[in-house]
């Protein structure tokens, strides 16, 4: 097998591209065999999936219908949709998590459009999580709902959003401190970053659950707050390194030009260096965002009913719906996959878009 390593050539016209692809598929006898085997594998996989998801699946009825079918159990999803999406949030107040979900989804979509990138969007990342917290807790209207009863998809998104937005606030000074010419400050920043990065997220969560509440005697530290504190610090230690890489990649001339204009340190950072550095690392930021979202199911380990654990809870009601784990996991996987796949495609598009714009 030969190894092709050249960069992608300029895209030829469609028909030409098709012809070339077909030629590549059968370029040598060995390659032809590989093509046939791979095509067979793909076809078998697709067929198995098709049978499971559609042909052999139960589409209506109850648990009996599912037992009679060997494929997916879609009635289970319908019957448990509320538990899976909203967790144990009080049933008569479901408009709150539903509205929260819409708010957060709106913010994420808005953030994906470069035209909207501005200060007000940054403020949106502060305002929306705050609004969702107030909404879910019932601080503004209606009965109070404790953080322990928040759950499902809104909780997953909220945990992610606060951790990610909060991490920016912590990571930016950390990254600046790590690049500072003040030795003491630099050492302190390195210590914080390396110590936090050195422990697994699960261990950080244990610390947040069992030790953080003890740091303030006489004060009741809410589990949600201590978990977010730990997550913000945890994400910030990774984010600080990304921002630092962005700053490092900038040519020295930028800082020198700013100095020549008479800008001080803060002005230089704020107006010249940080905006460029952040732009340069957008793909890494999106990757980190995906990574954090995919790690949020870990909060279930310390007792939060996030989306995945709500799905597992639904699937564990074996008296009513025996053997629905596969269907449940598929639904959860599909939800995570769709969000993250779109995000990673978006990141690639953005990378090209920015390069084409000439910013880098």
């Amino acid at each position: 097998m030969t190894i092709l390593l050249e960069g992608a050539p300029l895209a030829p016209p469609k028909r030409e591209a098709l012809r070339r692809t077909i030629a590549d598929l059968f370029s040598s006898p060995f390659n032809a065999i590989v093509t046939v085997i791979v095509a067979g594998l793909i076809a078998a996989g697709l067929w198995a999936f098709l049978r499971w998801a559609i042909l052999d699946a139960a589409w209506s009825g109850g648990a009996e219908a599912c037992r009679a079918h060997s494929g997916a159990c879609w009635p289970f999803v319908r019957a448990n949709a509320q538990l899976m999406v909203f967790g144990v949030y009080p049933q008569d107040l479901l408009w709150r998590p539903a509205l929260s979900l819409a708010l957060m989804a709106g913010l994420i979509v808005a953030s994906m459009i470069p035209r909207f990138w501005s200060l007000s969007l940054a403020l949106g990342w502060v305002a929306v999580p705050a609004a969702v917290c107030l909404l879910l807790s019932g601080a503004l209207v209606g009965p109070r709902v404790s953080t322990n009863e928040w759950g499902g998809l809104p909780l997953t998104l909220l945990v992610w959003m606060i951790a990610f937005a909060g991490a920016f606030v912590v990571a930016t000074p950390l990254a600046l401190a790590r690049r500072s010419d003040m030795g003491g400050l630099r050492t302190a920043a390195v210590a914080v970053i390396e110590l936090v990065r050195g422990v697994p997220m699960l261990v950080a969560l244990y610390v947040s659950r069992f030790i953080v509440p003890m740091t303030a005697p006489g004060v009741e530290v809410n589990l949600f707050v201590s978990v977010e504190t730990a997550l913000i610090l945890f994400v910030a230690s990774y984010l600080a390194e990304i921002i630092r890489a962005g700053l490092q990649a900038l040519p020295r001339g930028q800082a020198e030009a700013a100095a020549a204009l008479g800008l001080g340190y803060w002005r230089t950072m704020q107006l010249v260096l940080l905006p460029q550095a952040l732009r340069a690392v957008i793909p890494a930021l999106v990757n980190l965002g995906i990574g954090v979202l995919l790690s949020t199911p870990l909060v279930a380990v310390i007792g939060m009913t996030d989306f995945l654990s709500a799905v597992r809870e639904a699937a564990s009601h074996e008296q009513d719906w025996p053997g629905c784990f596969t269907t449940a996991y598929f639904v959860a996987g599909l939800a995570f996959f769709s969000i993250c796949f779109v995000a990673s495609r978006y990141s690639r598009w953005l990378e090209r878009h920015i390069r084409a714009d000439g910013h880098a």
């Binding site: 538990l83 909203f86 949030y89 049933q91 705050a130 009741e220």
Partner: protein, 347 residues
Amino acid sequence: MSQKTPIRQAAGVALALAALAAGFGAATTADAGPTVDSIKQRGVIRVGVGSQPGFFAPDANGKWQGFFIDFGRALAVTVFNDPDKVEFTNTSPQQRLPALQAGQFDVLLSGVTETIVRSFKLNFNFGPVVFYDGQGILVKKSIGVTKASDLDGATIGVQSGTTGELNIADFFKKAGKTYKPVVIEDTNAFSQALLSGRADALTQDASDLGLRRAAFPNPDDYVLLPERLSKEPLAPAIRWGDDLWLQIVNWTVYAAIQAEEWGITSQNIDTFLNSEDPAIKRFLGVDPSLGEAIGLDPKFAYNIVKKVGNYGEIFERNLGKSTKIGFDRGLNRLWTQGGLLYSPPFR
């Protein structure tokens, strides 16, 4: 000309948000000692529970249901006269005790076994036993085992963080036999270990195993071995050093037991309001002297029975013969019927 810079604005907003989070997450208590004060200030009781339909599980609408859940609701009635002023959090057996210690719950109603080590060394206080149990072993009928000692060399599923994990090690040591443990933390994955054949047997509180067996696709293929390896009195657990809270927990449970002894149910309770029996009058708060003397709502027992039910109702509703689970009351009968449930007098 102080033009507000974006960074400064963002910093201001971040500070505001941090302040909000602090106010939102942390309720400072005047004197942090008594749990009751913080409960009242918070307006809700925080209860740690497990995940096992029958004992504790959210239903398809996300509302918690189960035997232990009802005792949590009874506590909320005692403190707030509202069975919904309580929040339940699922916590694995392995994490529940440290979490209670760290102050994340006011009470654990997750089927904790009362032991002397947990009382003295781990510093927990226990309320009255709400469920008398013993450790059992659940096996598949087809492996042909009839008693625990037949399991020499078998693979046995244990749940980490339970007394069962320690008892089974003791049992095999004493019997001079060996076993291969499969240690599982996740309560949902525990049943799967037996169903899939990963383990030959599961060991855990017999009641828990009974609940699991009832949920199996073919319950009749599995059998609970006759031996009980241990005594497992399941009781509400609270942090050490909180006498008032302990009393409230105690007498909430006793009220449910005493009501059953007198035959007072949520259905017929109002007919007892006219009772001439002075003890019942005191119990239901018709005569308010008792409640005033102890500093609780004089009608707390009435409210518990009216809104949640007596012990027998709680048992039957969640675990009894009318449910799919179909447990026998066993030791959990009133002392008058040969069981162990006994309430001190309400006077």
